[in-house]
Protein backbone atom coordinates (compact mmCIF):
# COMPACT_ATOMS: atom_id res chain seq x y z
CA UNK A 1 0.00 0.00 0.00
CA UNK A 2 1.39 3.42 -0.93
CA UNK A 3 2.51 5.50 2.01
CA UNK A 4 4.08 8.81 2.91
CA UNK A 5 7.58 8.42 4.30
CA UNK A 6 9.45 10.92 6.43
CA UNK A 7 13.07 11.29 7.49
CA UNK A 8 14.56 11.64 9.97
CA UNK A 9 12.26 10.09 12.55
CA UNK A 10 13.96 12.13 15.27
CA UNK A 11 16.35 15.04 15.08
CA UNK A 12 18.00 16.88 17.92
CA UNK A 13 19.49 20.27 17.15
CA UNK A 14 20.87 23.31 18.88
CA UNK A 15 18.90 26.54 18.93
CA UNK A 16 19.78 28.70 15.93
CA UNK A 17 20.72 25.79 13.69
CA UNK A 18 19.06 25.05 10.37
CA UNK A 19 17.01 21.90 10.04
CA UNK A 20 15.64 20.17 6.96
CA UNK A 21 12.88 17.61 7.31
CA UNK A 22 12.27 15.37 4.34
CA UNK A 23 9.17 13.68 3.00
CA UNK A 24 8.36 11.40 0.09
CA UNK A 25 4.64 11.83 -0.66
CA UNK A 26 2.52 9.20 -2.38
CA UNK A 27 3.66 9.15 -5.99
CA UNK A 28 0.48 10.14 -7.84
CA UNK A 29 -0.58 12.79 -5.35
CA UNK A 30 -0.51 16.42 -6.34
CA UNK A 31 -1.04 18.26 -3.04
CA UNK A 32 1.46 18.28 -0.21
CA UNK A 33 1.24 19.54 3.32
CA UNK A 34 3.16 20.05 6.52
CA UNK A 35 1.48 19.95 9.92
CA UNK A 36 2.96 20.41 13.38
CA UNK A 37 1.99 18.90 16.71
CA UNK A 38 3.58 20.22 19.86
CA UNK A 39 3.59 17.53 22.54
CA UNK A 40 0.12 17.05 23.95
CA UNK A 41 -1.43 19.67 21.72
CA UNK A 42 -3.47 19.82 18.56
CA UNK A 43 -2.39 19.01 15.01
CA UNK A 44 -1.77 22.42 13.44
CA UNK A 45 -1.66 23.24 9.74
CA UNK A 46 1.56 24.87 8.56
CA UNK A 47 1.53 24.96 4.78
CA UNK A 48 0.08 23.43 1.63
CA UNK A 49 1.89 23.14 -1.68
CA UNK A 50 0.62 22.55 -5.20
CA UNK A 51 2.08 22.94 -8.64
CA UNK A 52 5.48 23.89 -7.23
CA UNK A 53 4.25 26.74 -5.12
CA UNK A 54 2.72 27.42 -1.72
CA UNK A 55 -1.06 27.54 -1.96
CA UNK A 56 -1.87 28.25 1.69
CA UNK A 57 0.12 28.93 4.83
CA UNK A 58 -0.72 29.58 8.46
CA UNK A 59 0.52 32.35 10.72
CA UNK A 60 2.94 29.84 12.21
CA UNK A 61 4.70 29.53 8.86
CA UNK A 62 6.80 32.67 9.10
CA UNK A 63 9.99 33.68 7.29
CA UNK A 64 11.99 31.09 9.20
CA UNK A 65 10.14 28.32 7.38
CA UNK A 66 10.36 27.31 3.75
CA UNK A 67 9.24 24.35 1.66
CA UNK A 68 10.62 22.94 -1.52
CA UNK A 69 10.05 20.11 -3.94
CA UNK A 70 13.61 19.72 -5.19
CA UNK A 71 12.86 16.79 -7.48
CA UNK A 72 9.94 14.63 -8.56
CA UNK A 73 9.67 12.73 -5.31
CA UNK A 74 10.87 14.70 -2.29
CA UNK A 75 9.12 17.46 -0.39
CA UNK A 76 11.12 19.28 2.27
CA UNK A 77 10.48 21.62 5.17
CA UNK A 78 13.36 23.86 6.18
CA UNK A 79 13.55 25.78 9.41
CA UNK A 80 16.26 28.37 8.98
CA UNK A 81 17.15 29.20 12.57
CA UNK A 82 15.45 26.93 15.05
CA UNK A 83 13.95 28.18 18.29
CA UNK A 84 13.10 26.23 21.42
CA UNK A 85 9.41 26.55 20.59
CA UNK A 86 9.94 24.77 17.26
CA UNK A 87 10.28 21.52 19.21
CA UNK A 88 7.40 19.41 17.97
CA UNK A 89 6.36 16.50 15.82
CA UNK A 90 6.22 17.52 12.16
CA UNK A 91 3.92 15.58 9.89
CA UNK A 92 4.01 15.55 6.13
CA UNK A 93 0.82 14.67 4.28
CA UNK A 94 -0.33 14.34 0.71
CA UNK A 95 -3.62 14.07 -1.12
CA UNK A 96 -4.91 13.52 -4.61
CA UNK A 97 -6.78 16.79 -4.36
CA UNK A 98 -10.36 15.55 -4.50
CA UNK A 99 -12.39 18.17 -2.73
CA UNK A 100 -15.14 17.31 -0.24
CA UNK A 101 -14.19 13.67 0.17
CA UNK A 102 -10.44 13.88 -0.37
CA UNK A 103 -8.30 12.06 2.18
CA UNK A 104 -5.08 13.31 3.71
CA UNK A 105 -2.43 10.62 3.98
CA UNK A 106 0.06 11.34 6.75
CA UNK A 107 3.57 10.13 7.32
CA UNK A 108 4.68 8.87 10.71
CA UNK A 109 6.25 12.20 11.57
CA UNK A 110 9.64 13.67 12.35
CA UNK A 111 10.24 14.58 15.95
CA UNK A 112 12.31 17.74 16.27
CA UNK A 113 13.94 18.57 19.57
CA UNK A 114 15.61 21.98 19.87
CA UNK A 115 18.00 22.39 22.77
Amino acid sequence: EPEVTQTPSHQVTQMGQEVILRCVPISNHLYFYWYRQILGQKVEFLVSFYNNEISEKSEIFDDQFSVERPDGSNFTLKIRSTKLEDSAMYFCASSDGQYVTGELFFGEGSRLTVL
Partner: protein
Protein backbone atom coordinates in the same frame (compact mmCIF):
# COMPACT_ATOMS: atom_id res chain seq x y z
CA UNK B 1 -10.93 31.58 16.31
CA UNK B 2 -11.88 28.07 17.41
CA UNK B 3 -13.79 26.65 14.46
CA UNK B 4 -14.47 23.28 15.98
CA UNK B 5 -15.00 22.17 19.53
CA UNK B 6 -14.38 18.58 20.40
CA UNK B 7 -15.57 17.07 23.63
CA UNK B 8 -14.64 15.61 25.92
CA UNK B 9 -10.97 16.54 25.78
CA UNK B 10 -9.97 13.34 27.51
CA UNK B 11 -11.76 10.07 28.15
CA UNK B 12 -10.46 7.08 30.06
CA UNK B 13 -12.66 4.00 30.11
CA UNK B 14 -12.55 0.27 30.72
CA UNK B 15 -12.52 -2.25 27.90
CA UNK B 16 -16.05 -3.17 26.88
CA UNK B 17 -17.66 0.17 27.70
CA UNK B 18 -19.45 2.33 25.16
CA UNK B 19 -18.59 5.95 24.53
CA UNK B 20 -19.50 8.93 22.42
CA UNK B 21 -17.31 11.86 21.44
CA UNK B 22 -18.54 15.05 19.85
CA UNK B 23 -17.47 17.61 17.30
CA UNK B 24 -19.43 20.86 17.31
CA UNK B 25 -19.37 24.14 15.47
CA UNK B 26 -21.57 27.14 14.81
CA UNK B 27 -20.69 26.90 11.11
CA UNK B 28 -22.34 24.74 8.48
CA UNK B 29 -20.03 22.36 6.67
CA UNK B 30 -20.39 20.63 3.35
CA UNK B 31 -18.68 17.58 4.81
CA UNK B 32 -16.73 16.47 7.84
CA UNK B 33 -13.93 13.99 8.34
CA UNK B 34 -12.86 11.97 11.37
CA UNK B 35 -9.26 10.87 11.83
CA UNK B 36 -7.62 8.72 14.48
CA UNK B 37 -4.06 9.27 15.57
CA UNK B 38 -2.46 6.39 17.44
CA UNK B 39 0.50 7.14 19.71
CA UNK B 40 3.66 7.78 17.71
CA UNK B 41 1.91 7.82 14.35
CA UNK B 42 0.26 10.22 11.95
CA UNK B 43 -3.52 10.65 11.76
CA UNK B 44 -5.46 8.17 9.63
CA UNK B 45 -8.82 8.88 8.03
CA UNK B 46 -11.72 6.92 9.51
CA UNK B 47 -14.67 8.37 7.64
CA UNK B 48 -16.06 11.28 5.65
CA UNK B 49 -19.68 12.29 6.20
CA UNK B 50 -21.34 14.46 3.61
CA UNK B 51 -25.13 14.47 3.97
CA UNK B 52 -26.99 16.03 6.90
CA UNK B 53 -28.33 13.25 9.15
CA UNK B 54 -26.01 10.70 7.59
CA UNK B 55 -24.96 7.73 9.70
CA UNK B 56 -21.95 5.62 8.77
CA UNK B 57 -20.75 2.49 10.51
CA UNK B 58 -17.23 1.18 10.57
CA UNK B 59 -17.30 -2.06 12.58
CA UNK B 60 -17.87 -0.92 16.19
CA UNK B 61 -17.65 2.79 15.28
CA UNK B 62 -20.78 4.74 14.34
CA UNK B 63 -20.45 8.23 12.90
CA UNK B 64 -23.31 10.68 12.61
CA UNK B 65 -23.47 14.01 10.83
CA UNK B 66 -26.01 16.41 12.33
CA UNK B 67 -29.09 17.32 10.33
CA UNK B 68 -27.93 20.92 10.12
CA UNK B 69 -24.39 19.83 9.17
CA UNK B 70 -22.89 21.76 12.09
CA UNK B 71 -21.95 18.86 14.32
CA UNK B 72 -20.97 15.25 14.34
CA UNK B 73 -20.60 12.43 16.80
CA UNK B 74 -18.58 9.25 17.00
CA UNK B 75 -19.94 6.38 19.05
CA UNK B 76 -17.78 3.38 19.89
CA UNK B 77 -19.44 0.19 21.09
CA UNK B 78 -17.56 -2.21 23.35
CA UNK B 79 -14.32 -0.24 23.29
CA UNK B 80 -11.06 -2.15 23.04
CA UNK B 81 -7.50 -1.12 23.97
CA UNK B 82 -6.75 -0.85 20.26
CA UNK B 83 -9.20 2.06 20.08
CA UNK B 84 -6.83 4.13 22.20
CA UNK B 85 -5.74 7.28 20.41
CA UNK B 86 -6.52 10.87 19.57
CA UNK B 87 -9.75 11.33 17.64
CA UNK B 88 -9.77 14.38 15.41
CA UNK B 89 -12.52 15.94 13.38
CA UNK B 90 -12.04 18.35 10.51
CA UNK B 91 -14.44 20.12 8.18
CA UNK B 92 -13.79 18.77 4.73
CA UNK B 93 -11.71 21.25 2.83
CA UNK B 94 -13.87 24.21 3.82
CA UNK B 95 -10.97 26.57 4.24
CA UNK B 96 -9.18 26.32 0.95
CA UNK B 97 -6.42 23.88 0.34
CA UNK B 98 -6.01 22.70 3.90
CA UNK B 99 -7.71 20.65 6.56
CA UNK B 100 -8.14 22.37 9.90
CA UNK B 101 -8.45 19.95 12.79
CA UNK B 102 -10.22 20.34 16.07
CA UNK B 103 -8.19 19.92 19.25
CA UNK B 104 -9.27 16.29 19.45
CA UNK B 105 -10.44 13.84 22.08
CA UNK B 106 -7.81 11.66 23.72
CA UNK B 107 -9.28 8.23 24.36
CA UNK B 108 -7.63 5.69 26.58
CA UNK B 109 -9.17 2.24 26.85
CA UNK B 110 -7.84 0.19 29.74
CA UNK B 111 -7.86 -3.60 29.68
Amino acid sequence: TQLLEQSPQFLSIQEGENLTVYCNSSSVFSSLQWYRQEPGEGPVLLVTVVTGGEVKKLKRLTFQFGDARKDSSLHITAAQPGDTGLYLCAPGWEYGNKLVFGAGTILRVKS
